[in-house]
Amino acid sequence: METLTTTIQAVPLNHYILLSAIIFSIGVIGVLIRRNAIVIFMSVELMLNAVNLLLTAFSVYRGDASGQVFVFFIMALAAAEVAVGLAIIVMIYRNTNSIDINVLNRLKW
């Protein structure tokens, strides 16, 4: 355990920031270019995970446990969000027989 915590400083914090930024951007691209509602939803989960990783990295590098508690709350929030979101998607599928988001453009007004 002690060796792990001393060797971890070989990785600079900048690398974690860059990794999280790239994963977040991939999630944004996924939301923008896909039309399947479930895949869009999974891209949102990917963005949440990028933020979780960054919060954990900051928390560990600053020696403050609050960041990890915050990640714990984000996970509880994600579980609730997935339950409600998937219920909405099931409802949409039942009414329109498709989960293509372009079918939903009647929601515009």
Partner: protein
Amino acid sequence: MTATEILFWFLSALALFSALMMVVSKNPVHSVLWLIVVFFAISGHYILLNAQFLAIVNLIVYAGAIMVLFLFVIMLMNLSTSTEPQRNSLVKFAGVIAGCLLLTVMVSAVRSANEITNSQATMNEGGIGLIENLGKVLFNEFLLPFEISSILLLSAMVGAVLLATKEPTKPTA
């Protein structure tokens, strides 16, 4: 190059590759499986950061519960074989450009904050990610948010049941 660095680069490459494959794969079931690989890689990062509690919770909650829920919904809707209609290539190109611009903005913001992030903050105690320490923080400082999150989960459960049940007039299919 230490073992930690090698593990870091391997897990990062795995996470990025799987995230890309998740976005570009046509079959939604393949997307779910690639996303599970991303979650495993991120759990590996947590272990590397000595946040063992979060690593286990990430595996149980995300890879275990949420992804199984996604798979159930996809298979119940029988979408696994249907070919999804694609966006036209102009919209796809614009989406990729927009995402790359966002990445550029974030990276340049980090580079301007170089003096903060480059200062190698020493890790005070190695044990902050262990469950003993996190439990103390969670139930002392963050007791009220913890209780409120239980209300959030309850309301989400009620909402999901309310949304996903059929109308009572129809027979159960």
